[in-house]
């Protein structure tokens, strides 16, 4: 739900100018309305970020993004991404393999559970881990006894992020692999390949675009997650602030240019995400040419 965009496989159908199409002026009006709406609500905010970032000049900009707190925030964001994304990718692959290559009862229930993180508010996602791991939480006493800190420390941020971004890779792979079916794997088995060999040589190449797509979306969300991380992090400067949290602090302290400076970095990454996403869509469409027999 939140951020799930399945790879589009259909080709565009452009309207030819024929008798039954809308009159020209209607078309122009609709296009203008659409582009205007998008311009006002999407492009303008994006522009504002970059312009505001440099409002006070580039010195302030560079100071903002290279301050120790900023660097710490960037580092933490990257660490969380490097841990959370591969883990959720492995989960996505395992779940897709189980769901699409086998028959068993309870598949729909499993898929629904995998979808759950999309359906809940990020704040709640953070809350549940506070209930589990804070000093008043279920495992609180045990954690304290072993001097392990999860809430208000990096592990908590990682776990909360894991929950929020759990579905991304799975939700891309499942429909893709469902369409592909089991014939390739069966062929590989009859040719004498073991399970692992079949997976590496046949299944993985077949899923590569879906996997890449899911990983990109997962990474974007991981880096940008705010609500859940806000709950579990404790906002300790220099230690448990990810980039979004750091931006919040700067903004709340009225250091607007600094806030937008750091924000512009993340926005740049968001734009790159969009570009990469489009490239993958294009490549996936190309390679989805059917290899089965035609009629």
């Amino acid at each position: 739900m939140s951020g799930h965009v399945p790879l589009p496989y259909s080709s565009p159908q452009i309207q030819k100018s024929s008798k039954e199409a809308e009159p020209r002026w209607v078309r122009y009006l609709l296009i203008t309305l659409a582009v205007g709406f998008l311009g006002l609500f999407l492009v303008l905010p994006l522009l504002a970020i970059f312009i505001k970032a440099f409002e006070k000049g580039s010195t302030v900009f560079f100071e903002a993004i290279s301050s120790p707190d900023a660097i710490a925030a960037i580092k933490l964001t990257l660490i969380v991404a490097v841990i959370a994304v591969p883990l959720n990718a492995i989960f996505g692959i395992a779940a897709a393999w189980a769901i699409t290559k086998f028959n068993f009862k309870g598949k729909s229930l499993l898929i629904t559970i995998i979808d759950l993180p999309f359906a809940i508010s990020p704040v709640i996602a953070g809350l549940v881990f506070v209930l589990l791991f804070s000093s008043h939480g279920l495992f609180g006493p045990w954690l304290q006894a072993h001097d392990i800190k999860i809430i208000f420390a990096v592990p908590g941020i990682v776990i909360a992020t894991l929950l929020i971004t759990l579905p991304f890779v799975a939700r891309e792979l499942i429909p893709l692999m469902q369409t592909q079916g089991t014939a390739d794997e069966e062929a590989s088995m009859t040719l004498g390949a073991s399970g692992w060999k079949t997976f590496w040589l046949v299944t993985l190449p077949n899923m590569k675009w879906g996997l890449l797509y899911g990983v990109i979306l997962c990474t974007a969300r991981t880096i940008g997650e705010f609500g859940a991380v806000s709950v579990v992090s404790g906002h300790i400067r220099g230690m448990t602030n990810t980039m979004p949290l750091h931006i919040e602090i700067l903004y709340n302290e009225y250091q607007f240019s600094a806030a937008f400076a750091v924000a512009s970095l993340m926005s740049l990454f968001a734009i790159i995400t969009l570009i990469v996403k489009n490239i993958i869509e294009w490549k996936a469409n190309k390679s989805m040419a059917p290899v089965e027999g035609e009629a």
């Binding site: 062929a187 009859t190 040589l201 059917p290």
Partner: protein, 356 residues
């Protein structure tokens, strides 16, 4: 490698896909599993391959009981209906796949693999396509690659699932003839599944006609075509004309005429149906006492034979006759004319014994 299928059954919940299938296949035979969709033929093939498990029964390859072995361990060659070529590998890599995935100790050297693959490329006449990807091949070419890939691991048994189903008619004919020649050269025990009776009759050593999870008849193409043992087999293997009548003391009485049915000499006054192939319908211009009157409804020239559709004057039934071109010319039939018809021979079945 001979194959013995003993009492194989398969059910999905309450649906019985296969029921007590018993079948013996000799080494080097080319057998067709022929039947309509839902007959269980593909299930049977996949069970033999190890891609599905039977609910009951035993399968032997030679003397060995392989029922519990996985597909990987059975070492069968399987050609899928939609080829299942690995789209990210070239033709060469596809064919080499079975050899490359062998465990280290059994794996041939790179040079040996190259030799074997090239040999197979020559066999399927695709040497120029070694570095192409499957998406750049035609359907017929992909099928040949799938076959070469299956043969590369030198299986003792070759299984093909509607191998030509997805191809154009002309390509289909060429490929099945080529498959027959290949089989004659290599003599691998082969089983292929098809719903196309022409294909089965053209290619197979023996045909296993299946319907609703059971075997209807096993025999050579001539046997199942000329001596079908049930109405279903008769219907499925070619066009058919029906003559309903009464069986009495070895003769089928049908309206104006009477046909011998010696196998029912003991039968008294039973309802029965006689089946005749189009080429067994005799048409005459002159009146004969034991012939039925019919009107020529439609004439259809197809290559070297002429199909004539007739309507019986007495019953209003449609009949389909097939004449050679010369005989047709000698009769000089025209639409709307009245002629006299009688089946030269009938295969008689009693309906209560069968339910189609």
């Amino acid at each position: 490698m001979s194959i013995q299928i003993n009492n194989i059954s398969k059910s999905f919940g309450s649906f019985q896909a296969l029921e007590h299938i018993n079948l013996d296949i000799q080494t080097g035979e080319l057998v067709a599993l022929l039947g309509p969709s839902g007959s269980g033929k593909t299930s049977l093939l996949r069970i033999i391959a190890g891609l599905e498990e039977a609910s009951q029964g035993v399968i032997l390859f030679g003397d060995e009981d392989i029922t519990l072995l996985s597909a990987k361990e059975r070492k069968v060659g399987f050609v899928f209906q939609h080829y299942a070529l690995f789209r990210h590998m070239t033709v060469f890599d596809n064919i080499a796949y079975g050899l490359k995935v062998r465990p280290r100790k059994n794996r041939p050297s790179k040079g040996e693999i190259k030799e074997k693959v090239n040999e197979l490329l020559k066999l399927v006449k695709l040497e120029a396509f070694a570095n192409r990807y499957p998406s750049h091949l035609s359907g017929g070419q992909r099928q040949r690659v799938a076959l070469a890939r299956a043969l590369a691991v030198e299986p003792k048994v070759l299984l093909l699932d509607e191998p030509f189903g997805a191809l154009d008619a002309k390509v289909r004919k060429d490929l099945r003839r080529w498959l027959r020649r290949l089989h004659d050269d290599y003599q691998i025990t082969s089983i292929f599944v098809t719903h196309d009776q022409e294909e089965a009759l053209d290619v197979a050593d023996r045909i296993v006609v299946m319907n609703e999870g059971k075997i209807e008849q096993i025999g050579t193409p001539e046997e199942v075509y000329e001596q079908p043992n049930s109405p279903f087999v008769y219907h499925f293997l070619g066009n058919v004309n029906l003559f309903k009548g009464r069986l009495h003391n070895g003769k089928l009485q049908h309206g104006e005429f009477e046909v011998d049915a010696p196998e029912f000499a003991e039968t008294i006054n039973t309802e029965a149906v006689g089946y005749a192939r189009p080429h067994d319908i005799s048409i005459k211009r002159e009146y004969r006492q034991d012939y039925a009157t019919a009107k020529v409804n439609y004439i259809h020239q197809i290559g070297a034979v002429v199909q004539v559709e007739l309507i019986r004057k007495d019953t209003g039934d449609y009949l389909e006759a097939e004449l050679t071109k010369e005989y047709f010319r000698s009769l000089d039939l025209k639409t709307g004319e009245e002629v006299y018809v009688k089946p030269k021979q009938l295969k008689v079945f009693i309906p209560e014994d069968y339910s189609i």
